[in-house]
Each structure stands twice: as structure tokens, then as C-alpha cells.
């Protein structure tokens, strides 16, 4: 199925928060052009995995490769410059910047103004509601709009790999569906997506590959469609 070289590859990655051993040898590989998801309970280390990929948390052991290049020793801005982008958990937008300024911050490292302008229009076409809120302060947007803004901001760096941390967190079911539709659309435009979700059903439905995480380890790896049928997953994460 996946003959292409993986765009992102984690090999036995360990991460510590002070004394807490948060990641205990996480390995996974994301093929180029796909949507892959990482599911698991609260505190399993899903967000830590994303933060470690980005270099916000440094991996103490193991290797992370992006397009074949090791990135586990790089600072976040270097990782971002290579074409990785992340929409953080809990809609961490800039509350006292307008929607437009938030999006422009996403293109902070870019110098090609005309192209940035085009991408801005692209983000507005993905999330039309943001266009109506263009001058409004980020903090005054609704929860769903903030989530869209966070994803839009991450797209403004024109990433090859988009890391999405809990895009469905705290959103109404209808909005969740809409967000996932947009995620598929973003993927179709050629962006590889690594999705971290507690909403396992939704995540596995849109993904091709799935990883199940428990207390700092990946305990299951399979095609997403297979995981949806897996008894263990069904019981623990799908509530069936």
C-alpha cells in the first residue's frame, strides 16, 4: 500500500517532562500525502508526541526524521522552516490580535508576500466564516471559529506536513463533521496530515493509517479501517 517514502518517521522516541517519562519509545511513520491519526486516552502522550516532533519538547532519545532529514535536535523555528506546521490543542490563538493578524503570524517565516496573500484567500475559501471576522480579535471568536483560525494559521506557512492536535475538542457534533470535511479537503490539496484525536471514530474514518497510544507507548498500528473493526479498539475507544 505504501510504497512511497515516509515523510515523517519516529524511531523509539523518548521524552521527559522533568522527571516524568512521557514518551517511552514511540515509533511511527507517516507516508507522504496521507492522513494518519494517533488516538488514545487523555494523558497517553499524544500531544507530547506532536510537541516533540516540533522540537518544543526535546526528545531525550531516539530519532525523528522529516523527509529523511533528522529534526530531533532542531529548534521549533527550524522545524517550521522545513515545512512542518502545527495547530495546537485547545485553540491556542493570539487572543488580542485580529483574525487577519493571527493568520499573518502563521506566515511569519515567509517572505513571498504575493503568495502569502494567495494562501490567505485559500484559507478564507476553506473557512469562509473567518473572512467575515477578519478584523475581529481572536479572543472574541466562538470556539469553532477559534479552532478554524488555529488550523488556518497553521496552513499559512504552506506546510508539507500538518500536525493537528485535537481539532474536534469541545466542538458541537455538526461542527466536528465540518472540520473533518475541511481536513480531507486540505489533504487533497497535497498536505500530509498527522492527526491527534480523542474522537477516535471520526479520526479513524478520515485516516488511512492509525496508531493507538497508551501511557507513552504505541500499542497498536494498523490501517485505520482495520482499527475500526479491532475488538480492543472498539471496546476502549469507540464505546461499542
Amino acid at each position: 500500500m505504501t510504497t512511497t517514502q515516509p515523510i515523517l518517521e519516529l524511531t523509539k522516541v523518548h521524552t521527559y517532562y522533568g522527571n516524568i517519562h512521557a514518551l517511552k519509545g514511540v515509533s511511527c511513520s507517516i507516508p507522504k500525502g496521507e492522513i494518519a491519526c494517533l488516538i488514545g486516552a487523555n494523558g497517553a502522550g499524544k500531544s507530547t508526541t506532536l510537541m516533540t516532533i516540533f522540537g518544543v519538547q526535546q526528545a531525550s532519545q531516539g530519532e525523528i526524521r522529516f523527509k529523511g532529514q533528522p529534526i530531533h535536535k532542531l529548534r521549533p523555528e527550524k522545524v517550521a522552516a522545513m515545512g512542518v506546521s502545527q495547530s495546537p490543542e485547545g485553540r491556542q490563538i493570539f487572543p488580542r490580535m485580529s483574525t487577519q493578524e493571527n493568520l499573518e503570524m502563521g506566515a511569519f517565516l515567509r517572505k513571498d508576500k504575493a503568495e502569502v496573500e494567495r494562501d490567505l484567500e485559500w484559507v478564507f475559501s476553506l473557512f469562509p466564516v473567518l473572512k467575515d471576522r477578519v478584523r475581529q480579535l481572536g479572543g472574541t471568536l466562538s470556539g469553532g471559529e477559534q479552532q478554524m483560525l488555529a488550523i488556518g494559521r497553521a496552513l499559512m506557512s504552506r506546510p508539507e506536513l500538518l500536525l493537528l492536535d485535537e481539532p474536534s475538542l469541545g466542538l458541537a457534533p455538526k461542527l466536528v463533521e465540518k472540520i473533518f470535511e475541511t481536513i480531507l479537503e486540505i489533504n487533497k490539496s497535497g498536505v500530509t496530515i498527522f492527526l491527534v484525536e480523542q474522537n477516535a471514530h471520526m479520526a479513524l474514518t478520515v485516516s488511512r493509517t492509525g496508531y493507538v497510544m497508551e501511557t507513552g507507548r504505541v500499542i497498536l498500528t494498523d490501517k485505520a479501517s482495520a482499527l475500526l473493526e479491532n475488538e480492543q479498539v472498539k471496546k476502549a475507544y469507540l464505546g461499542e
Binding site: 521549533p76 493578524e101 471576522r133
Partner: protein
């Protein structure tokens, strides 16, 4: 609305009256109720003024709510556009003409005010833009003052030669305090910077061989201007030392204007946006590709550079410096200027510097109670206008435009 404000007026007036009781003259021999009443009058006038402003504003809001015809819009635009040039030009004329009307004492006060304008704007970079609470800011002022003093006294370096060195040293010291505190925020950062400010002062106080300890250093030369001279048919550079107060006033006015321009440019730059992003959400800034480590260090370094320039001027003006000029209280005053003026707002900070520095001088007539009056102003201000005298314009602009643009159907 108006009734509410009136109620406030009565309540505040009552509390102010209580605060002013000690002024009634328990002091010693004289009983001077007049002084207390005068002060009370000043405060009440401020409160009434506030009431009037608020009423006008609420009326204006109601007017704004009504749909505008293009004509009134154009008129409003015109009113909004022109006064800014007039105000700035007018202020400049007043500032330039000031020494011609003021006596030496008043010029001296103005010089101090302008020094604090520079300090406030410098601290604004660290606190207002980058969101790092710094309680030891005066240490950089001290670094600037002592760098010039030592270089001038020991090596005979002129003000202009010592200034870049002072700026560089200030920036280095800024990074020294910045680096270990990179991961700190809020209260913790405040305590560390507070300690740092004291360390610098104590070092200056105790390093006798370099700083002459508590005696301080004196005899530094004033800043000088060089101009070509053709006297006696030969060309040479003549030196004009800025000894008189008006000359020093114009010099610091120039420094203050340059500081205002540079802070304004920084505010609107890429770096400025990065600072604001860090202030708003550091992780999100990091994820957007902002090199947070460097950008934060840059905030400390540039903030320190502005203070260092002000410090060098201060030492040169007095020809004297002493560790007790750089007490924690000074850091507090500079921080008060930033908060009182409106965090991140350049005009607000300029006005606040004048208010806070000139107020104790204006209230000198109150003798021992002038600090009470000073505290009274601060308290009143923070209750009435917690966002500062002039809230940062970018914030107001955004809020305003957010109101003006109606969502599409």
C-alpha cells in the same frame, strides 16, 4: 449612566476627604485647612472632568450608532486626520519654545521628565510588547550611567565615544538577565528581575575601586557638540559643551524624539509582531516559527539599550552619579509610567512620564504630603481608567474596526 457616575463621584470624594484628613494640619504648629481643601478641589475637578468626558463619549456612541451619511463620514474622517498633524506639530513647537518661557527649575523638571519618557518607552518594549514583567529595569539605567562615568573619568572618552560602548554593555547586561529567565513568566520573572536590579545596585555600592562606592563618581564632562572653526585662518574642530540647562534640554528632547521614533518603528515591524505574539501566547508563537529565544533576548537587549542611553545622559548632565539614584523605587516609577500610560501605548507613556515626574514637583507645596497626593493620583487613575491614559492604539484600532465592519449575510 450619569447617575452612576455621580454616585461614583460622591463615593470617591468621600474617600479622598478621609485620605486628606492628615493634611488638615496635625503636623505641628500651623493649622492649614486651605491646603487640604485645595487638593480635594483638584481631585474633585479631575473626577468631574472625567464625568464630563464620559458623558460626551456616551453621547457620541449613541450618535455613532445612528447610520451615517457619507457626508458626515467624510467630515469625521477629516477631523480625525488633521488634528494628529496639528497636535504633533503643536507639541513640537511647545517643546522647542519651552525653555524660552520657563525658568531653570522648570527646565530641570522637564529634563527629568524626558529622561523618564525614554525609560518608560524602553521598558515598554520589555513589558508592553513582549509581556515580560521586569522589576529591575533601573539596573540598565545604572549601567549606562556608570559606563559613561567610568569611561570618561578613566580613559577620557567623550560622551559620543562612550555612548555606543554603554549601549553595547547595556545590551550585554540585558542578555545576562534575559538568558537564565527565558522559561520564566509573570510573578517568577518579576521576582528574579527585582533581585537582579538590587544585585546591580549593591555591586555599584560595594565595588569601591571601580565605582567609588556610595560616594559616587563625579567630574564627568558634559556632552559636547563639535563644529568646524576657521579662526586664525586655520581649520579646526571647536568644541561646545552642552553646559546650560536649555542646551541639555534640547539634547534630551532630541534623544526622546529618536526613542519615540525607534520604538514606534519597532512596534510596527516584524520583530514587534513577534514580541506581541510571544506576549499573547508563547507556545503558539513558537509553533508559528518565531524564534522565541532570540526574540525575547532582543527585547531585553533593546529595552536595556534605551535605558543605557538615558543613563549616560543622566550621568553626563549631573556630572555625578551614585548608587542611590538607582533604587528599587525608581524601577517602580518607570513601571508605573508604563502601566499608567497604557501598556504598549507610546503617547500614553509620554504623558504618564510627565504626569508622574512633574506631579511630585507640582505638589511640592504640600511638603510632606506630596507623596500622598502622588499615591492618590495613581490610585484614582487606576480605578477610573485601568487601561491607561491612552490605551495602545493598535488595540483601539482593532476594536474600532471590528465594530465598524458588519459581518456579511
Amino acid at each position: 449612566m450619569i447617575r452612576q457616575e455621580l454616585k461614583k463621584l460622591v463615593v470617591y470624594g468621600f474617600f479622598l476627604a478621609i485620605l486628606l484628613i492628615p493634611m488638615l494640619g496635625f503636623k505641628s504648629t500651623t493649622f492649614e485647612p486651605g491646603r487640604a481643601f485645595k487638593t480635594l478641589g483638584v481631585f474633585m475637578a479631575i473626577l468631574v472632568l472625567n464625568l464630563i468626558v464620559k458623558t460626551i463619549r456616551s453621547r457620541k456612541k449613541q450618535e455613532d450608532a445612528e447610520p451615517k451619511t457619507p457626508l458626515t463620514e467624510r467630515a469625521a474622517e477629516r477631523i480625525n486626520r488633521f488634528p494628529k498633524i496639528y497636535t504633533l506639530g503643536g507639541l513640537l513647537v511647545v517643546a522647542v519654545a519651552y525653555p524660552m518661557f520657563a525658568d531653570n527649575y522648570m527646565i530641570d523638571v522637564a529634563i527629568t521628565c524626558l529622561i523618564y519618557v525614554c525609560l518608560g518607552l524602553g521598558l515598554n518594549v520589555v513589558v508592553g510588547l513582549c509581556g515580560l514583567l521586569d522589576l529591575g529595569y533601573i539596573a540598565f539605567y545604572a549601567v549606562g550611567a556608570y559606563t559613561y562615568s567610568i569611561l570618561n573619568l578613566t580613559f577620557g572618552l567623550s560622551f559620543w565615544a562612550a555612548l555606543p560602548l554603554g549601549i553595547v554593555l547595556g545590551m550585554v547586561v540585558g542578555c545576562i538577565i534575559g538568558y537564565p529567565t527565558l522559561k520564566m513568566r509573570g510573578d517568577y520573572l518579576a521576582i528574579v528581575t527585582l533581585g537582579f536590579g538590587e544585585i546591580v545596585r549593591l555591586v555599584l555600592n560595594n565595588w569601591d575601586s571601580l565605582t567609588a562606592g556610595p560616594n559616587g563618581l563625579f567630574g564627568m564632562k558634559k556632552p559636547a557638540l563639535y563644529y568646524p572653526s576657521f579662526a586664525e585662518d586655520s581649520f579646526s574642530w571647536a568644541i561646545y559643551y552642552l553646559k546650560s540647562l536649555p542646551a541639555l534640554y534640547y539634547f534630551i528632547l532630541l534623544i526622546a524624539i529618536l526613542t519615540i521614533i525607534s520604538v514606534r518603528r519597532l512596534d510596527n515591524s516584524r520583530i514587534g509582531r513577534a514580541w506581541i505574539a510571544i506576549r499573547e501566547d508563547e507556545v503558539a508563537a513558537e509553533l508559528s516559527g518565531v524564534p522565541t529565544t532570540w526574540i525575547k533576548l532582543l527585547a531585553y537587549a533593546l529595552g536595556a539599550a534605551f535605558a543605557s542611553v538615558a543613563g549616560a545622559f543622566f550621568a553626563a548632565k549631573l556630572s555625578y552619579t551614585n548608587p542611590n539614584f538607582f533604587l528599587f523605587m525608581e524601577s517602580c516609577i518607570v513601571l508605573s509610567i508604563v502601566v499608567l500610560g497604557g501598556v504598549g501605548s507610546i503617547p500614553g507613556i509620554v504623558i504618564a512620564a510627565f504626569v508622574l515626574i512633574a506631579a511630585p514637583e507640582v505638589f511640592r507645596g504640600l511638603e510632606n504630603y506630596r507623596m500622598l497626593a502622588f499615591g492618590g493620583i495613581m490610585t484614582t487613575m487606576m480605578i477610573l481608567k485601568p487601561e491607561g491614559i491612552i490605551p495602545a492604539s493598535r488595540r483601539r484600532r482593532e476594536l474600532h474596526e471590528g465594530e465598524a465592519i458588519k459581518p456579511k449575510e
